[in-house]
Symmetry: C2
Subunit: 155 residues, 2 copies
Amino acid sequence: MPRTSTKAPAPAGRLASDYRLEDQVGFLLRRAYQRASSNLVDRIGSYDLTAPQYATLARLYERGALSQNLLGRLVAMEPANIRDVVLRLKKRRLVATRRDPTDKRLILIDLTAAGTALVEQLIPIEIACTATTLAPLKANERKQLYDLLGRLADG
Amino acid sequence: MPRTSTKAPAPAGRLASDYRLEDQVGFLLRRAYQRASSNLVDRIGSYDLTAPQYATLARLYERGALSQNLLGRLVAMEPANIRDVVLRLKKRRLVATRRDPTDKRLILIDLTAAGTALVEQLIPIEIACTATTLAPLKANERKQLYDLLGRLADG
DNA sequence: TCGATATCGTTATGATCATAACAATATCGG
DNA sequence: CCGATATTGTTATGATCATAACGATATCGA
């Protein structure tokens, strides 16, 4: 006679009994990113901007005009994805595009005056948001986290 | 006469000169998750499974049958999202669904035999994949990372 | 010069994601 | 008992994401 009902919650039961999803970095990273992203949307959502859109604007603010492809690499987005983001930002007149005269393959993206003004407004909000996300960590732990995450991301 | 052309790359120029996108946790977390997710797809992509799909199967393997809603919470997915994942897994006969007899609102999800067999095949691959992702870190650093990420994710 | 190769942007497909609104069912308090 | 409230699952909308295939343009080497 089996110990409990076959329909029971099956606390651990089968094989690989010591495996836990929580022990997989990918799962942890996904949840941590969800939290960070949620914090950002809570703060800048009223501007109707997503985290990738903000990152795109911020990168343009840092670097000035960039080709669409390079811009994508600098915000870690595939060509097909950065294209859509740029289209949405362009529709809102936050960025402007023009063709590179010397290399006809390239589309140069740059902030408009409105885009620049918006980024300058959002940067302090983003910094506060980062502080919120990092709130559970002490100062030295935050530094450590940056080091570890940076090495993970760069492979 | 201005020092350079107005159209120049604008290395730093404007306001908030010390702001860097790299200093924002969200951006770092997103890139690190991209890396981890990419590592997983490289290894289990031939099974036509994504990271969230694998997480769903793994959770069911750990816990046995769960309501769709609870399952979603346990893999950090919104109700609308876990629904789509379950539909795809169900279409491939990796999970089966039935209504809870005592609470007619609930849909109970459980692994099929094929689903169970697949998870048992994938678990060692996932563990190896996690090792790959963590390769840049030493043992004590990995432990530290888990601690920090866990606290971030839980808020 | 010219052909192979590489890069850039586009298109298409399919899978996450989050949010809001909604119907059906449970639960709880008076 | 029964109405207010909460929970579950669905639907719709819109924004990421990754991948593959493709034309256009650049670049490089023979």
